[in-house]
Amino acid sequence: MFFVNFSGKSIAQNTKDTLHLPEFEIKSNYIFDNQGFKRVKLDSITLIPHLSSDLSTILSEYSTVFIKSYGNGTLATPSFRGTTAQHTQVEWNGINLNSPMLGQIDLSLVPVSQFDGIEILYGAAGLSRTSGAFGGVINLVTNPDWNNIADVIVAQTIGSFDNYTTNVNAAIGTRSFQSHTKFNYSSGLNDFPYYNDYLGEYVNQQNASFKIYGISQEFFWKLKDKHLFNAKIWYSHSKRNLPPTTSNFDTSNLEKELDKALRAVIEYKYVKSDLNLMIHSALSDQFMNYQNSLINANHQSYTWINRLRFSYNGIRNLSLQPGIDFNYDWVYSDSYTGMKSRSTLSLFAEINYEFNPKIKGSLVIRDDVVDGRFMPVIPAIGFEYKPFNKVNLVVTANTARNYRYPTLNELYWEIYGNPDLSPETNYIIELGSTYNYPSRNKKLFLEATFSGYYSWILDMIIWTPVEGSSSLWKPENVRQVNARGFEIGTNINWHIIGFDLGFKANYTFCHSTNEKAQIPNDNTVGKQIIYVPVNNLNSTVSLERWKFYFKYNFLFVGKRFTSTDNSYYMPAYSLSNIIFGKNFALDNFVLSLQVQINNLFNIDYQSVASRPMPGINYAFTLKFSFKKGIN
């Protein structure tokens, strides 16, 4: 399944070389196919060398999503376009992975091996999936390759600090039936050495060990190319010790966390030339236990997700896509009084209209009914303009209003929750363009994208001390944030004298500021939100020849402020990571040896204050794969 382009179209790939990029297969990564909304894809080929990593690594190295990492293997949360982790929804095959309690997800718990591709929907593009994702939606997808007979991968990674990862993936099937089984197991002591400023000496990180495993089974059926069924189930289990901060390096306060999640989905699609139907129903069961020397708390949450979508293109130049979603969350938590629940019914319609071959427009209307109460209508409108017939240049514009409903913790956390919260409101305008150039001889592919946005978040919920009490905090709709910025991306592939050269880069500029005074003499108005970098860049250079591959990844993370008046900050840093390896192929078998060096220049850095990060470290992977397809 790692050979599948995730647009769903199978590719007749060179089955012997997992990293070979056939130049005629290169597809655009930057897509405005939603008629004016931005979507970026990270394909399975990019993910291959990162089989043993977690999602946070991939996103920080290849996307404009900013990852706030509290340390190796511990909490990592995504945010983009100057918003928060709660404004970023992560989905696995249409199942929302964000906890209904926290409204966010820990990306270090999502292994790359459990999905085949990533689709990032920026800003208003996310409205086709959900409301509330002001930053966007990160969708992890798995797709079948109907030409597959057998595709088996067994891989073992041995890394620094006693970190081990085992992956076993098996895909078998026929032209009408495919089965995918995936298993991942990681464990690590994670006791990396670092210089502890507080203790004034080199120490090994303590209490940072983890054990994570996951298993998934997916079935795909196809009937007469019209009826597509799939059923997927994924169980993941993670037991982690939580490492202390540099100045809380005392063994008496050890923390640990247990996370268990079961996700199951069944889906049916009916595909006809002018009419499509999709129905899916999913259940997500998440359990979390947190322990320290004083606290032992359990949190159990369930989400039932139902999605129904039609698509009709029978009318000239017009396509209609109405849909209904129904979600139900229910939570049993030691921190809530009794069971708490929420139902969300969403009515959704997307209308696409082609004014002429150069101009297309789309209108998205969504209305959510939360616990029986109608929320204000969410509209989004987008346009796409293709000025030239022979140049692949597209200019887009879109605007939307969006709402985020409070999380269950914000509403119901015992004593601290605030059941009177209103939804947050977001207005966004966005302009974008994308250009690509495939050379006539197909040896060169160039791609560039630009998008700029301005976004207003009103009534943003933040935890605020209750007036007159220094010990009681409650979430309140008090903040106003303006976020504006731009994103530039480029992607170059060049096939020259037998070499495959690649270059990918993303740069983001984001000025996200607090706009409303909350206290007398407030110094924070107009200042950058804490832990949102203004500048962020990642780039990857890749080189391939004689089944030998090499990748150099460079990350630059700009200054992040650590005080709301912007008088303290974490300095900018840059990291370099390299991966190189060789594939040895024999008939349908491939043996791959890979070396990964992270933090090549041994930079002594902290991403979040007081949270140490490892210096130079290594991972060695031995991978065995077998692939047989229908020719």
């Binding site: 008496s252 206290i519 407030d522 630059f556």
Partner: protein, 370 residues
């Protein structure tokens, strides 16, 4: 069309060039640590001595490791920030609770770093540190040989002030908080078990014989007794918040430490405004606390004051102390907790603002040089 392509090439060349520029400028070996935009002070000048002034203990954010001590100089009214780091090239730690003077030393309780930093007062250089606590809270000196330290998790630590080590633990299973000495006894408030709700917690004051470090008696108090002071008539006042969860009305208790009886209970309205930070002036005739402002109350009063002496006016008042000589009221405003706080100095008879000082993150307590 050709033009467009040319532009794209140029753009990409520029982009790649800027990438390399970033790469070569950011490849520095300086460790990436939290930094302040204020320029670092000139350290070549003669070492500063911290003689006449106020040490302001800035608690810092939990788990951010940014606790600090600021020094306000009486003569110049200048504030020197983070004097511990300046003298010791390392941070003070995580969540500084309080600072107590002992001879030529300052003892700073750093709660979440689980230690007490001992510094020499004149230059704030680290002398030693004491560890082995169970989340230490407050420290009270008994005599020139020993001190007690309360803790969040369990047990009261007995410190030998000659060696700066823990010599003994007085077993308690509960969170002990503030303490004051009367005669040979130490009165120590106890909140109950940290992980229980106030309905279950047993709030009390332990009476410990300091001669043999044994709990000899206890008395019930209101929920969450977070403040304790002794007045000029040798009465002990205990301020109880009633519970962070508003379990009961907050109260101010006056007890007779000789007879070990509660003489009087002043009850506040349960209006969601929790009183905290009980203080007394040097002449021990007026007590102060923070509610929706700073309240002032003579120890002879028969009722609680109805109006704040200094209204909060929307500020987040957090730390409070009364100057031991001139009686000035020092109160801190922590703003939104995520930036450096401010200290306000008021005249205690007129309530006029005398001075404001910018200090560190979450200023919570004070230690006066004299």
């Amino acid at each position: 069309m050709i033009g467009t392509r040319h532009n794209i090439y140029t753009l990409q060349t520029l982009f790649i060039a800027s990438l390399f520029a970033v790469f070569f400028t950011s490849c520095s070996k300086t460790p990436i640590r939290e930094t302040t935009i204020d320029p670092p002070p000139d350290t070549t000048v003669t070492p500063i001595t911290y003689k006449n002034g106020i040490f302001v203990v800035n608690e810092g954010n939990f788990n951010w490791g940014n606790a600090s001590v600021s020094f306000i100089d009486y003569n110049t009214n200048n504030v020197i920030q983070d004097i511990f780091k300046k003298s010791n090239q390392r941070g003070l730690g995580d969540v500084a609770q309080c600072m107590i003077r002992f001879k030529d030393y300052g003892l700073i309780v750093v709660n979440n770093s689980n230690r007490i930093e001992v510094v020499t007062l004149k230059d704030f250089k680290s002398f030693t540190s004491i560890s082995g606590f169970y989340s230490p809270r407050y420290l009270e000196i008994i005599d020139s040989t020993k001190a007690y330290v309360t803790s969040l998790k369990k047990n009261i630590a007995v410190i030998d002030l000659a060696t700066f080590t823990i010599t003994k633990e007085i077993p308690t299973s509960t969170w002990t908080e503030v303490l004051t000495k009367f005669d040979q006894y130490m009165f120590v408030t106890s909140i109950g078990n940290f992980n229980e709700s106030n309905a279950k917690r047993k709030a009390q004051v332990f009476i410990i014989d300091t001669k043999n470090d044994v709990i000899v008696d206890s008395m019930m108090t209101g929920k969450e007794p977070l403040g304790i002071v002794m007045d000029k008539k040798q009465k002990i006042w205990i301020l109880c918040t009633g519970g962070y969860d508003f379990y009961e009305s907050p109260s101010l208790i006056r007890l007779d430490p000789i007879l070990r009886i509660v003489e009087k209970v002043f009850t506040f309205p349960n209006d969601g405004n929790l009183p905290n930070k009980l203080c007394i002036n040097a002449t021990r005739d007026t007590i102060y606390f923070i509610k929706d402002g700073v309240y002032q109350m003579p120890v002879t009063a028969s009722d609680l004051p109805s109006q704040p002496f200094i209204p909060s006016n929307g500020r987040l008042l957090y730390g409070l102390s009364i100057h031991p000589i001139n009686g000035s009221i020092y109160v801190s405003d922590v703003l939104d907790y995520i930036q450096d706080g401010t200290i306000y100095q008021y005249n205690s008879s007129t309530g006029t603002l005398l001075n404001t000082y910018k200090v560190g993150r979450i200023p919570s307590s004070f230690c006066f040089t004299n």
